[in-house]
């Protein structure tokens, strides 16, 4: 096994460059990057910026697959640059492009605003019939493990946009809400604390809503967090069809335990340690 820290291979990074103030169309520039074992694409881009071309632009923050800002198209597949090791996907050449299905702000920086706007209109937060309850929760809401599991996977989304870039439907129909916002809708619809399913139906059921999904499954294939948006969308379709046929479950929010801390502790949950100060 190659020693960590030592370059094991030269990889040619073919990076899409574009400055809308200067360039008419995007073009590709190639850079030779000495790659060590374990080096991520993000590390490679840093090498280019530090040693070869300081004008290269991309977006990143956490470097650990949490913030969702470094999504890009790596060898034709949407992925997080910080989460992808170069030697796992490239032998000699690596193409790096901005995420498709979004306008380019500059070089590898996509404009994700359209995704955030679509996310906002599905109201991705817990809605309560009693608005006062939404603002000032007066108690804990009991949720069983099964109830938690029904949405937990969908709550891992980091809004990176990789699924939106992979979706063939979104590629042709920009009005389609897309996998991320629709999976977020299902995440909250399935949450037993939520009473907003019928309000969200107005958006998810629209012509640009979930019925547009062809279940190609590309969104789930590329999701770096294992969210499986395609599954969320099929569950959302099912619940919309059941609502249309008047067979859907009535929203019955989970039981409220009066006052924080007054619930019965489950046996496998440790007690809060005593205050030391």
């Amino acid at each position: 096994m190659a020693e960590a820290g030592k370059a094991v291979r030269q990889i040619a990074f073919h990076v899409t460059r574009y400055n809308p103030e200067r360039d008419r169309v995007p073009f590709v520039t190639s850079y030779q990057v000495p790659v060590r074992q374990g080096m991520t694409v993000l590390d490679g881009l840093h090498y280019i910026k530090d040693n070869l071309d300081a004008t290269l632009a991309w977006r990143y923050s956490c470097r650990m697959g949490i913030c969702g800002s470094c999504g890009m198209l790596l060898n034709g597949r949407p992925a997080l640059a910080c989460n992808t090791q170069i030697l796992h996907i490239a032998n000699a050449n690596l193409t790096v492009k901005p995420l498709p299905n979004f306008p380019i702000i500059r070089d590898l920086v996509p404009d994700l605003q359209s995704m955030f706007d679509k996310h906002r209109i599905v109201e991705p937060y817990i809605l309560h019939a009693n608005e006062a309850e939404s603002d000032f929760w007066a108690g804990e809401f009991y949720q069983s493990t099964e109830q938690l599991k029904s949405y937990l996977q969908f709550s891992y989304c980091i809004l990176c946009g990789c699924c939106m870039a992979a979706c063939p439907t979104l590629a042709t129909d920009t009005r389609y809400l897309g996998p991320m916002p629709l999976a977020a809708a299902q995440r909250y619809d399935a949450d037993t604390r939520d009473e907003g399913r019928h309000a969200r139906n107005a958006v998810t059921d629209a012509q640009s809503g979930v019925s547009h999904c062809h279940y190609a499954g590309e969104c789930s294939r590329v999701c770096p967090k294992g969210v499986d948006p395609a599954k969320a969308l099929q569950l959302l379709k099912r619940s919309l069809v059941l609502d249309y046929l008047h067979l859907g479950r009535q929203t019955s929010p989970c039981k409220k335990l009066q006052g924080p801390g007054n619930g019965t502790r489950l046996p496998d949950i440790a007690a809060v340690p005593k205050k030391t100060a």
Partner: protein, 127 residues
């Protein structure tokens, strides 16, 4: 219930389509398995066998059902594909109206033809 309503019917039409197409395959292309609803000779599409089926109101209902679900499923599917081109709302409305007119026209024509075939078959059976 905008998209969901049409999509639910689209899926329901697909299920019915599977059933009636299965019947079609069985009668017309799998005669060897038992000459279903084709008692005269070996050719299920011969005039005598066709008239035999046309006499039966169940088959007239099945023809009209097949026509209806095939038209709805096909035209709605076509509309979905075309709408993915992000057209102007006015263009989409015009396409929807045109497809509805074409669909209803073809459905009316096919229904009339099936009913006429039924009448001819009954007249033939009556001598």
């Amino acid at each position: 219930m905008g998209g969901t309503r049409s999509w639910t019917w689209h899926m329901a039409a697909a299920v019915v389509l599977l059933f009636v197409l299965g019947m079609h395959m069985l009668i017309m292309h799998m005669a060897g398995t038992g000459h279903w609803f084709a008692p005269y000779g070996t050719e299920p599409s011969s005039m005598r066998n066709s008239l035999f089926r046309d006499e039966n109101p169940f088959f007239i209902f099945a023809y009209i059902l097949l026509l209806g679900v095939a038209l709805y499923h096909g035209l709605y599917g076509f509309r979905t594909i075309v709408f993915e081109l992000t057209l102007k709302p006015a263009t989409e409305k015009a396409i929807t109206i045109a497809l509805a007119v074409i669909g209803l026209g073809l459905f009316g024509l096919g229904t009339w033809a099936a009913l006429v075939a039924h009448r001819i078959a009954l007249a033939g059976a009556g001598g």
